[in-house]
């Protein structure tokens, strides 16, 4: 019976689908709600609580990395959320069985057959937490200098850096955007390996819901991708209302890029892509679903690349200022460092070949690390200019547009 109801719109779409432009996502002819609201038998089928919880945990952990009273084990408890421990100040997070760490470098598409790479990445994240405690915390009241961790001034703000100028908490938080939110959304939940896993399609065609829930598996997977972008939105049905403010991760930077007139419009696009793709799932329109998924992936990829370029160009401008105060650039450099780390979670297919950017990311980080000359203290503006140009050209982003 249910199949019959869905056959009609599917037919409409087949007709509408011919003669479509690849770049121009046409208005589909199946029912699409105006807001991200989907129901079955009067109950909402939208669910992404696990994502909201991880975002909430990440928010707390990010802040805790600058709490000098925290011990290393307390920070790792927030990161790993082990049984029997209540590391968060938000009670609902303490009740959660989820953890940030279990989903870092854990996507189906990139790491299912690459536990080695995943382990190396997880070790990086662990390392940043440990180093914050062992290198930065003890130097809370020191003035930073070459080879000396401590405080640098950023206007009237204070930044806490390691001995070569990196704010480890920024490296962690910005790298987490790539390693958790982006990787899970783009390389896991929006990929066909997960969406079409097992009998998902058949179940979805028959509207067979997951035991005890009102959603099909496929509907849920799609929502989980949505959750990594809009999971902390005050009103997820209309997620653009608080775009840029819902969290300090993908949502925030999607908002920042949207505010750049060169890229304005991506927010409306990603919102409608999520909504239309989800509606396509409801009517079993999988071609449309995947077309929308690809557009979402492109937009999220652009956010990572654009912000990488942006921070490097901002830092470059600081290093060209008179008088030269290199420390003024450290905050931008640290954020840039985290975003550049995140580039390794991108996979673009060019001329039929899937490109892995891990080496590119590592090489770029080595440039920023500047190990021969005291890290950020010795970086030169021209090096940053070249690096920004390289990133722009490798990822096909307009340098000028991203720079400001």
């Amino acid at each position: 019976m249910k199949l019959f109801i869905y056959a009609f719109p599917a037919m409409f779409l087949m007709i509408a689908a011919t003669g479509c432009d690849d770049d121009d996502a046409p208005t589909p002819s199946f029912v699409v709600p105006d807001t991200y609201v989907f129901e079955r038998d009067g109950a909402s089928t939208v669910s992404f609580s696990g994502q909201s919880e991880r975002l909430g945990m990440a928010q707390e952990l990010s802040a805790a990395l600058l709490d000098f009273s925290k011990r290393e084990d307390e920070l790792f408890n927030m990161y790993r959320n082990p049984e029997g421990v209540d590391p968060f100040s938000d009670a609902s997070l303490n009740e959660s069985t989820k953890s940030i760490s279990s989903k870092v470098a854990a996507s189906r598409d990139l790491f299912f057959t690459n536990a080695t790479a995943a382990a190396a990445i997880k070790a990086d994240f662990d390392g940043w937490i440990s180093a914050q405690v062992s290198e930065v915390f003890p130097n809370e009241n020191e003035l930073a200098a070459r080879g000396q961790a401590g405080q640098v001034a950023d206007g009237s703000d204070v930044r806490y850096v390691n001995e070569w100028g990196l704010e480890l908490n920024q490296a962690f938080s910005k790298a987490l955007i790539g390693g958790l939110m982006y990787d899970q959304a783009v390389n896991n939940y929006l990929g066909t390996a997960i969406l079409d896993e097992g009998t998902n399609r058949t179940e979805n065609d028959m509207a067979n819901t997951v035991n005890g829930e009102s959603y099909t598996n496929m509907e849920h997977k799609w929502d989980e991708a949505f959750g990594y972008v809009f999971g902390l939105s005050a009103n997820p049905a209309q997620p653009l209302d608080d775009l840029g403010e819902a969290d300090n991760f993908l949502n925030k930077y999607l908002g920042r890029v949207e505010n750049d007139p060169d890229f304005t419009g991506i927010a409306a696009n990603i919102e409608s892509d999520f909504r239309l793709g989800r509606a396509a799932i409801v009517v079993g329109e999988y071609g449309e679903r995947d077309a929308r998924a690809n557009r979402i992936k492109e937009i999220l990829t652009d956010v990572l690349v654009i912000r990488s370029i942006y921070y490097l160009k901002q830092a470059e401008a600081q290093l060209r200022a008179t008088p030269l105060m290199p420390q003024a650039a450290f905050h931008d450099l640290s954020e840039g460092y985290g975003f550049v780390y995140s580039l390794r979670f991108i996979r673009l297919t060019i001329d039929g070949q899937e490109i892995d950017y891990t080496t590119f990311s590592d090489n770029s980080l080595a440039t920023l690390r500047n190990a021969d000359d005291n890290g950020f203290w010795g970086l030169e503006a021209d090096e940053l200019a070249t690096l920004a140009e390289d990133i722009a050209s490798v990822f096909f982003i307009n340098l000028e547009a991203a720079a400001n």
Partner: protein, 351 residues
Amino acid sequence: MRITSLAFLLLLSISSCKTNNGDDDGPEPVAFDRQAMLANWADNLIAPAYDDLEADLQSLHLSAEAYAATPDAGTLAVLRNDFSKAYRSWQASSPFVLGKAEELRLREQLNTYPTNIDLIEENVSQLNTINLELPSQTVAQGLPALEYLLFGLAEEALQSDDDYRSYILQLTGRMLTLSEAVKADWLATRDAYVQNDGNSATASIDRTVNDYIFHFEKFLRAGKVGIPAGVFSDDPLADRAEGLFAGYSKALFSASLNSSEQFFNGGLNDYLDALGVERSGELLSQQINDQFADIKAAANSLNDNFSTQVVTDNTAMLQLYDELQKQVVFLKVDMLQALSINVDYVDADGD
């Protein structure tokens, strides 16, 4: 046919040679002495401002010593008076944070507000261990911290606890040291500043004008008016007003505004006139000066304490903000375009 097109080409190339032969990205060459303007800025505006600041901070430090030695109503009155003078002197210097002043973060060290009362109290209780050079201490020093101690703290507390008086001395001493370093460096680099009269982004005019407008936009418009009036937040923020303990926000605002106006009329007005810059048929310099008058008019009826004003009638603050904003447009858009100067700062969007 060929000859005509050749001739045409030749004509084209000749006419294209007649473009301005000054620096590539400078304004149209015109009879205006940029170096003289720089000299006027350096000698008649900036140096005197730094002089006054240093002198007033000197007096302030001396009266802080007198008060520490003999804490009574008389010495406190002198100290408070000298504090007011110094605070107003600072306003006159604030638009010119260049070179050494920038390096030493003079503005941040002297006038970051709101001050952090908890940190001040913590510092007072452990006087021997604090390091005022740390960036984290920026919010517990300078004029706003002094203002809290002299006007925000109960007089009996100030009178009875000599740790407060010791801390006051640390603050005044530090401000004096910083301003002395800035003034000395200014005098030493004055000639280089004046001679660097080119059009590049690192030359003196470009940097000075950028700093001037940055100050106007961020510290005068937003810091003194916009932020307390709640323009950048959901509600007005009474605790973010300058001079809220002493109750003279308006006097500080006026001192800063007057210095801004004076600087504009110290050469930029003539420069714009020499370039013949007009907007809607009127000289831009005149419009800018008219706008300064409008700003003063809007500030006139405000309470001396902006912290009170935003609570009793915030609309009046918002009106002042709007007048300041109009001036930002004149300066940052119209004037910079006419002078072929690029904005060298970005409104920080936070992390």
